[in-house]
């Protein structure tokens, strides 16, 4: 199979969507952040100039504009660029977008996708490093996808654009250059189906987005020490493939949750709570969370590394749950 970068797979997905459905329009252009890959989005925009829209720096206004357009026949894919800016559009996302379908008893649908680049990117400091997916998860009314590979981002995007729900699509800037196999033929990955990224028998790791890759790296090292790690990537957290997580924990009896959100009330907290409640009997040791510490992201590089989930911390946590 051919190999593409994450950025190439994403843009290919966007291109196919634009070509297959006239209702799809794109607002914003920083899907690939400010990375070298962003030229790919520029090429796509040049191919479809009438389908791209470049909004002013008015997140509240243009995110709401996308919602209104989605309610009335368009299928917008909106880019909010850096996830931290989502807070400016927060009222439209959480009060309008997420509630409209329910409040209208299903009369009004909001088929849109909004994209953000989350996570610690290096030097982003406190206002450019957010992973807001936990807060979105606490807000019923949207689907949430957090891909971790080129194959997944394209396949999930296809599903996101085809459902009648709003979808929050979080990417991690540090994934964009990653390479992986992507088939030539059309495919879509259904939401709510986890992918076992690595099979193992001693410890389960649940992770999303970049943390899947970091966990895979850690698992490789642990394997050389004779520790067999299974990695479950839910890919979407709404809907969540709870069964896949519980099955894996039933098999291994141990769980490490790796997540880039802040600790308190993070995505990792919910994974931990679900397993602690529903697979308690299988647990041989307490669940450990390897997550971002509860501090604003500091600017200075050594401090930044200190607060984020690293490969070393994952390895240590896996060893702890085995002891």
């Amino acid at each position: 199979m051919r190999t593409l970068t994450y950025g190439q797979a994403m843009v290919e997905g966007l291109r196919e969507l634009l070509e297959s459905d006239d209702r799809i329009h794109i607002m914003g252009q920083y899907f690939l952040g400010l990375t070298p890959q962003r030229a790919l989005v520029g090429e796509l925009a040049a191919e479809h100039p009438d389908r791209f829209y470049y909004p002013p720096i008015a997140e509240l206004g243009y995110l709401g504009t996308a919602i209104g357009a989605a309610m009335t026949g368009m299928r917008p894919i909106v880019d909010l660029a850096t996830a931290s800016f989502m807070f400016q559009a927060w009222a439209q996302i959480t009060e309008e977008m997420a509630n409209i379908h329910y409040m209208s008893d299903g009369q009004t649908k909001v088929p849109m996708v909004f994209h953000f680049n989350h996570g610690i990117r290096g030097g982003g400091a406190a206002q450019h490093s957010h992973s807001p997916q936990a807060m979105l998860w606490n807000t019923p009314g949207m689907e949430i996808m957090l891909p971790s590979t080129p194959y997944d981002v394209k396949g999930l995007l296809k599903t996101a654009a085809s459902t009648d729900n709003p979808t929050a699509w979080g990417d991690h800037v540090k994934l964009f250059m990653m390479e992986g196999e992507v088939p030539e033929e059309d495919y879509a990955i259904p939401f709510g189906v986890a992918d076992i990224k690595r099979e193992g028998s001693d410890v389960t790791i649940v992770a999303t987005s970049l943390m899947v890759q970091r966990s895979l790296a850690a698992a490789g090292k642990l394997a050389s020490e004779g520790i067999s790690v299974e990695i479950v990537d839910p890919r979407t957290i709404v809907p969540l493939d709870e069964a896949a997580i519980l099955e894996s924990v039933a098999k291994t009896g141990r769980l490490v949750v790796v997540d880039e959100c802040h600790r308190s009330c993070g995505v990792g907290a919910e994974f931990s709570a679900i397993v602690a409640e529903k697979a308690f009997g299988y647990l041989k040791s307490p669940i450990r969370r390897v997550v971002t510490e509860d501090v604003p992201i500091p600017f200075s590089p050594p401090m930044e590394e200190y607060v984020e989930p690293t490969e070393a911390k994952i390895i240590q946590a896996v060893k702890e749950v085995i002891d």
Binding site: L60, G64, G68, M71, Q92, S104, T108, M142
Partner: protein
């Protein structure tokens, strides 16, 4: 001034205005006997909403606010379903999920109601954006009060509408006179530094029209102009309709302080009570509309009373329907979160 329409159409507007008035009065009475939560009534603004929305065509959309009942009724949403929704019954348009603050009827062109002040302005702008980009001949109407202009979302929205020449009409119903929070004598508002609301629009280059919102003919003409602009690719329009705040809206919870409206006051001034005389004799837009209709000889006073009796009976029936309806099964709370 009456709208430049046929006599039949003007009378149709009168009926809609009476529907709104009686609907709201019944609702306030209903609220006196049971807890129906926080709600807002449209009394006094009928002659803005009715003629404004009368001109819309099927496919056009309206985005409204917490003071939304009149808008939905003006476009023909059945009162029975609205009462049911407001009471949280399963026969309501949304099966009790939204209530008064979030009324919605896609069939009548109301995709949602945002009860967050300024919440709907981006949505209405977005609908217009979609219409334009999809090449559809449709118009989006954003209805809001003066308070929405204090929210940044409005500025962000109109900037985009101006840039893109979107087919959207921002219809601001300014009822701030004597509203809670206003200092005596300040107009339009002590919470907005602009001398005139339309001054806020001027920098964006969007055409503005300022009218008396109690003048049905002026509303009709302004909306006609705005709709023509929107449909012909001329972009957005901002209309400020200055309405009078009904005395019953001055407290936080609506009170039927002026009593149930006796439409005969329009032609028999001896019926006007001393209390709230100014309201009945000059400010009540529906009474003013009736006086204008009578002056044109479009209908006899008796026929207006007959129309009112019919409407009042319908409203009572609608209330009965809603009261008799069942609550939704509780477990329905879990449904329709996602499509």
């Amino acid at each position: 001034m009456l709208p430049k329409l046929s006599g039949e159409q003007v009378l149709e507007q009168l009926r809609l205005a009476i529907v709104i008035r009686r609907f709201e009065e019944e609702l306030i009475k209903l609220a006196g006997s049971r807890d129906i939560g926080h709600f807002h009534v449209y009394i006094g603004q009928e002659m803005t909403g009715v003629p404004a929305l009368y001109l819309l065509e099927r496919g056009d959309l309206s985005f409204t606010t917490h003071r939304n009942h009149g808008h939905l009724l003006a476009r023909g949403v059945p009162a029975s379903q609205m009462y049911a929704e407001i009471l949280g019954k399963e026969t309501g348009m949304m099966g009790g999920r939204g209530g008064t603050l979030h009324l919605c009827s896609m069939e009548h062109g109301f995709p949602t109601t945002s009860s967050a002040v300024g919440g709907a302005t981006p949505l209405a702008t977005g609908a217009a954006f979609g219409f334009q980009r999809l090449g559809q001949d449709r118009v989006s109407v954003c209805l809001f009060g003066d308070g929405a202009l204090e929210e940044g979302s409005w500025h962000e929205s109109i900037n985009i509408a101006a840039m893109e020449k979107l087919p959207v009409i921002y219809l601001c119903e300014n009822n701030s006179l004597e509203a809670l929070g206003q200092k005596a004598g300040e107009y339009p508002s002590s919470t907005l530094a602009a001398v005139d609301l339309i001054d806020l629009v001027t920098p964006f280059g969007v055409p503005t029209i300022q009218i008396d919102g109690c003048d049905a003919g002026a509303v009709h003409a302004a909306m006609g102009e705005a709709l023509h602009r929107a449909r012909s690719g001329g972009g957005a329009t901002f209309i400020e309709a200055r309405t009078v705040r009904w005395p019953g809206n001055r407290p936080i919870w609506p009170e039927l302080s002026t009593g149930e409206t006796n439409f005969a006051m329009a032609w028999d001034s001896s019926l006007v009570p001393t209390e709230y005389r100014e309201w009945h004799a000059e400010q009540d837009a529906v009474l003013r509309f009736i006086r204008e209709i009578l002056a044109e000889g479009l209908i006899e006073p008796e026929a207006i009373l007959a129309m009112d009796a019919e409407v009042s009976a319908e409203m009572k029936e609608a209330v009965e329907f809603a009261l008799a309806s069942n609550y939704p099964p509780a477990a329905a709370a879990m449904e329709k979160v996602l499509a």
